[in-house]
């Protein structure tokens, strides 16, 4: 039996958490030990994800490293994990950001360190689980289980309004996802009427022909769950609260990985499982995405709080990702997946920078800063690179994703692409304006005059992020190549599914009134 690498991605952080339970933590005396154990575990996991990437066959579109075990056989529920080009890099991203998040909390988390590290590791375990699950039931289990550690991270170690934010986060996400659970059940039931056996196996469900009226309901249930997670306008209201109140490590993971689960879910489940309904709803989703792009950018522009500004910029950037998915052509979807990675790196980086500033000054208000460039040149240099990457400067990672998405969107619907492009311009405005107010000009507030520049630990935190933005900008093919076959397969499934069912006369009335984005591919 080959080494079960995907299971170990889930199990290793969980085992690390259990190990930490054994460490006595009376009065934080062992805090350093606890932090180091957690860091070592998360670095090991990152190493494993890299190993997996190295052994991944980029030419194949299939799921690789698949493991299959019966779990609840009476209901066709199995433990099936596997990875394809779409999930591969998201796993690497998860592995990459977790140690950074842990490192970033080194000086800012002083209470209940052990519990903090346990929750971060459990969260990592659940996140890995979400991305590797090919069984829908298993996916849902991880999807729901992930909420609990994040809830504690926000609620215990967050800022002033942390409880409100934590409860809002968990209730919003749950409310969206429980209906998806029913849709999953309905799907498995449908499979049993068609073939006589229950199955939650994604591969089998892909082949299932779902009647059009059920597709509509199922797609809505799935899309609602994912739209809340992304978050798509108008379901985004939990995000600014959660982001702003979460501790830095929480914000990094939330922005870096958790939001991607929504867009990942759209690509992996909602679109290929229900192609007909997706065809019907994609234009509407695309409009919401564009509204989100512009709305998020406009709201970000007027935020006095840096963290809130970054949070709203996430709404805007993820709108772009959803737009790329809705285009349902190669450029759009590839750009969307790429942009998911970019956003994880650059927004994660921005939250880290904001966290460093607020660790020093205990405020996140832009007005409190000014002229930092003279005081802490290294930090500001990193800040600049990440800002530029976030607004999509050519040569850095953000450009590649945005360009591909806009290209894809333009082929699908030029009007939407044109409006989305204004969002990109707006993002340059709010990010650079914020950067200018914080870093340039005279040191207006004397409290800022004595701030220390990057400490060695902070170099370790921000260095990899900066390196990654440059690497992903210069060598995009390194990342795009492994995902290409898988993206093509999703698109084939989507277009074929929609075509055969229309040809079979299953859906005479489901032609969308709006010209369809995928039609001109």
């Amino acid at each position: 039996m080959p080494f079960p690498i995907l299971t170990s991605l889930i199990a290793l952080p969980a085992a690390g958490a259990l190990l930490l339970l054994l460490v006595r933590d009376a009065d934080e005396r062992n805090a350093a030990l606890v932090r180091n154990i957690a860091l070592v575990v998360s670095v090991l996991v990152f190493g494993e994800t890299l190993l997996m990437w190295a052994r991944f066959d980029p030419a194949s579109a299939d799921f690789q490293f698949v493991e299959r075990h019966a779990w609840i056989p009476a209901f066709g529920i199995s433990y099936i994990v596997g990875v394809d080009g779409i999930s591969l890099l998201l796993l690497v991203l998860t592995g990459f950001l977790t140690p950074i998040a842990l490192l970033s909390s080194w000086d800012s988390v002083h209470t209940k360190t052990r519990a903090f590290c346990i929750f971060v590791l459990l969260l990592e375990s659940a996140m890995m689980g979400v991305f590797v699950s090919i069984d829908l039931f298993l996916f849902y289990v991880f999807w729901d289980a992930m909420l609990v550690p994040m809830y504690f991270l926000i609620g215990i170690w967050g800022y002033d309004r942390r409880i409100y934010a934590a409860v809002k986060f968990i209730l919003y996400t749950m409310a969206g996802s429980v209906l998806m659970l029913l849709a999953i059940l309905g799907l498995a039931y449908l499979h049993s009427t068609a073939t006589g056996a229950y199955s939650f196996d994604l591969m089998r469900l892909y082949d299932l022909e779902v009647p059009p009226h059920l597709q509509l309901w199922f797609f809505l249930a799935f899309a609602l769950a994912f739209a809340i997670k992304v978050p798509l306008f108008p379901f985004h209201t939990w995000l600014p609260d959660a982001h702003v109140e979460a501790p830095t490590a929480g914000s990094v993971i939330l922005a870096g990985v958790l939001l991607k689960m929504g867009t990942y879910g759209l690509i992996r489940f909602a679109f290929p499982l229900f192609p007909l309904a997706a065809r019907f709803f994609a234009p509407g989703l695309a409009v919401l995405a564009v509204v989100g792009i512009v709305y998020g950018a406009l709201v970000a522009m007027v935020q006095p709080d840096m963290k809130k500004l970054v949070a709203y910029s996430s709404v805007s950037h993820l709108g772009l990702v959803v737009l790329g998915i809705c285009a349902m052509n190669t450029q759009g979807v590839q750009g969307a997946v790429y942009q998911m990675l970019n956003h994880g790196v650059s927004t994660g980086g921005l939250f880290l920078i904001v966290g460093m500033l607020s660790d020093r000054r205990h405020t996140r208000l832009i007005a409190e800063y000014g002229g930092l460039k003279k005081v802490m040149p290294h930090l500001v240099a990193a800040f600049l690179i990440i800002t530029l990457s976030s607004i999509g400067l050519p040569g850095l990672n953000g450009f590649v994703g945005e360009f591909l998405i806009l290209l894809g969107a333009f082929r699908a619907d030029p009007r939407l692409a044109a409006i989305a492009a204004t969002g990109v311009v707006l993002s340059a405005t709010y990010m650079l304006w914020m950067f200018q107010r914080v870093n340039y000009g005279p040191v207006s507030n004397e409290k800022n005059a004595g701030l220390t520049d990057l400490r060695p630990r902070e170099w370790l935190v921000i260095g990899p992020i900066v390196a990654m933005t440059i690497l992903m900008g210069v060598l995009p093919n390194l990342f795009l190549r492994p995902m290409e076959p898988s993206v093509e397969r999703v698109l084939n499934r989507y277009h074929q599914g929609a075509q055969t069912e229309i040809r079979a006369g299953l859906a005479p009335n489901l032609e969308s009134p709006i010209p369809n984005p995928g039609a001109r591919r």
């Binding site: 609840i72 009476a74 991880f142 729901d144 289980a145 409880i163 934590a166 209730l171 429980v178 059940l185």
Partner: protein, 479 residues
């Protein structure tokens, strides 16, 4: 058939109860006697007897059937009994309750519950109902000097007696119609006339339904629940919120899915409305509670609603859903009340929400256990509550009760809100001036019981296959 085998489990428990009573009578004042372990021996005896009886489908006097369904519920009751014995210990010590009386009542109640789960005759079900109810009424008011406890016991008694009357009327009408109180004969006679149900039949079913609805605290017959749960000592509340519910649901399932199955078209609609109302009221009103015991009382009302959905949707998929849910709910809920019982101190009940502030820091293990139980009640994976809810809802979707499933999942989100309020208090709120300066230490047995409950919760949540299969196979013995 007059084989006595089928009543051996309850005979074991009854013997232990009588022994406890006798021991109390002969006990010198101040003398310590291991009465609790005596009860545990009786329960373990009952468990062994049930294992021996498994798969044999024995029946005694034609009115008690030890089929696998009854035995599965018996196992649940034994687990409830053992855990209740363990978590009662601190309450008894602290409140200076008469140990023998307390345990004797509890064991008699368990014997009544077992009888109720295995009875196949309406009159015997009624008898069992009275045995368990009388014992539980007294247990509710066992703190004689507590005004709240007395009020609770009195309310519970009055409303319980009222519902018993309904139940008895239902039996009388059924007898009038069919000339028998045995479920199998009632069933075959009703089936032969089921084409056009007469008003008399509907009246009989309706009265029985009301009687059961009272006992499982379904809306709109739930009014007694919060008061009784709040007034009783927390260990007793844990016991009655799980044991009584399990026994009542067992009889409910047996009567309605076997004898009155032919009339499903009529009672199904009523039960649909009751189930929906129970889930909604339980979850929504629970949000407004500031007393943890009342909050969990509404939570158990809501869980009764999910059980009703499982009962309604019992089909080839969801057959075992009722039993699996009962087991899960029993273990989880008794764990949660166990934590409340342990935190309870002689000076103050510590049962308001804000008393939990800072528990996460003072008593990390206890707070962790409580979090596990609450998250399981809320239906989070990988805890048992998730699998149980999933099982119920998959049965509902399969049976075509889509709206009940949708109401169910949405109300479970609402209920998560109030479970989290407790978690917020324990972990995220600093201890305020009003909270107790020190929580009492955890007694060893009670602590062990809580840890065992938590382990069962995880076991059922992560590796549920075997128990799911048992549950599905057990219920096949009755329909």
């Amino acid at each position: 058939m007059t084989s006595l085998n089928a009543i051996v489990p309850m005979a074991c428990v009854t013997a232990a109860a009588i022994a406890a009573m006798v021991a109390e009578a002969f006990r010198e004042p101040g003398e310590q006697m291991p009465i609790g372990p005596l009860g545990a021996i009786g329960l373990v005896g009952a468990a062994i007897a049930s294992i021996v009886l498994w798969n044999h489908n024995t029946s005694s006097f034609g009115v008690v059937v030890a089929d696998n369904f009854g035995l599965f519920v018996t196992f649940v009751l034994i687990i409830v009994g053992l855990l209740s014995l363990a978590i009662s210990e601190p309450t008894i010590d602290r409140e200076h309750l008469p140990r023998g009386e307390y345990y004797a009542l509890m064991l008699f109640a368990i014997a009544g519950m077992m009888l109720m789960a295995t009875a196949s005759d309406l009159l015997v079900i009624f008898l069992a109902l009275e045995v368990l109810s009388l014992a539980v009424y007294v247990l509710t008011g066992i703190r004689r000097d507590s005004a709240l406890g007395t009020e609770a016991a009195f309310k519970y008694f009055l409303l319980g007696a009222f519902s018993s009357a309904f139940f008895l009327y239902g039996i009388a009408f059924t007898y009038g119609l069919t000339g028998s109180t045995r479920l199998d004969r009632v069933g075959s006679l009703i089936a032969s006339q089921a084409m056009a149900p007469t008003p008399m039949q509907l009246l009989a079913v309706g009265l029985l339904l009301v009687g059961f609805a009272f006992k499982v605290s379904a809306v709109p017959f739930h009014m007694w629940t919060p008061d009784a749960y709040e007034g009783a000592p927390p260990a007793v509340t844990g016991f009655m919120s799980t044991g009584v519910k399990a026994a009542a649901f067992a009889a409910f399932v047996r009567v309605f899915l076997s004898a009155f199955e032919p009339l499903r078209g009529d009672w199904g609609v009523v039960l649909w409305v009751i189930a929906a109302g129970t889930m909604i009221v339980g979850a929504v009103v629970g949000v407004a509670q500031s007393n943890v015991k009342r909050m969990l009382a509404y939570s158990s009302i809501a869980h009764g609603g999910y059980l009703l959905v499982a009962l309604l949707a019992a089909n080839d998929v969801g057959k075992g859903a009722v039993l699996f849910y009962l087991l899960t709910y029993a273990v989880t809920n008794i764990g949660a009340f166990g934590v409340i019982a342990v935190i309870d101190s002689a000076e103050r009940p510590n049962d308001r929400l804000r008393d939990y502030a800072g528990l996460g820091t003072d008593h990390p293990v206890l707070a962790g256990l409580m979090t596990i139980f609450l998250l399981s009640l809320g239906g989070f994976p990988p805890m048992a509550g998730f699998i149980a809810k999933w099982y119920v809802f998959s049965a509902a979707v399969k049976a075509g009760y889509n709206w009940l499933a949708i109401i169910g999942v949405l109300t479970s989100v609402v209920s998560v809100f109030f479970y989290l309020r407790i978690v917020v208090m324990m972990y995220m709120t600093p201890r305020n001036a009003e909270a107790p300066t020190r929580f009492p230490p955890v007694p060893r047995m009670a602590g062990l019981a809580l840890v065992v409950s938590a382990l069962i919760v995880f076991y059922l949540g992560i590796l549920p296959t075997r128990v799911l299969d048992w549950a599905a196979a057990s219920i096949s013995t009755i329909f």
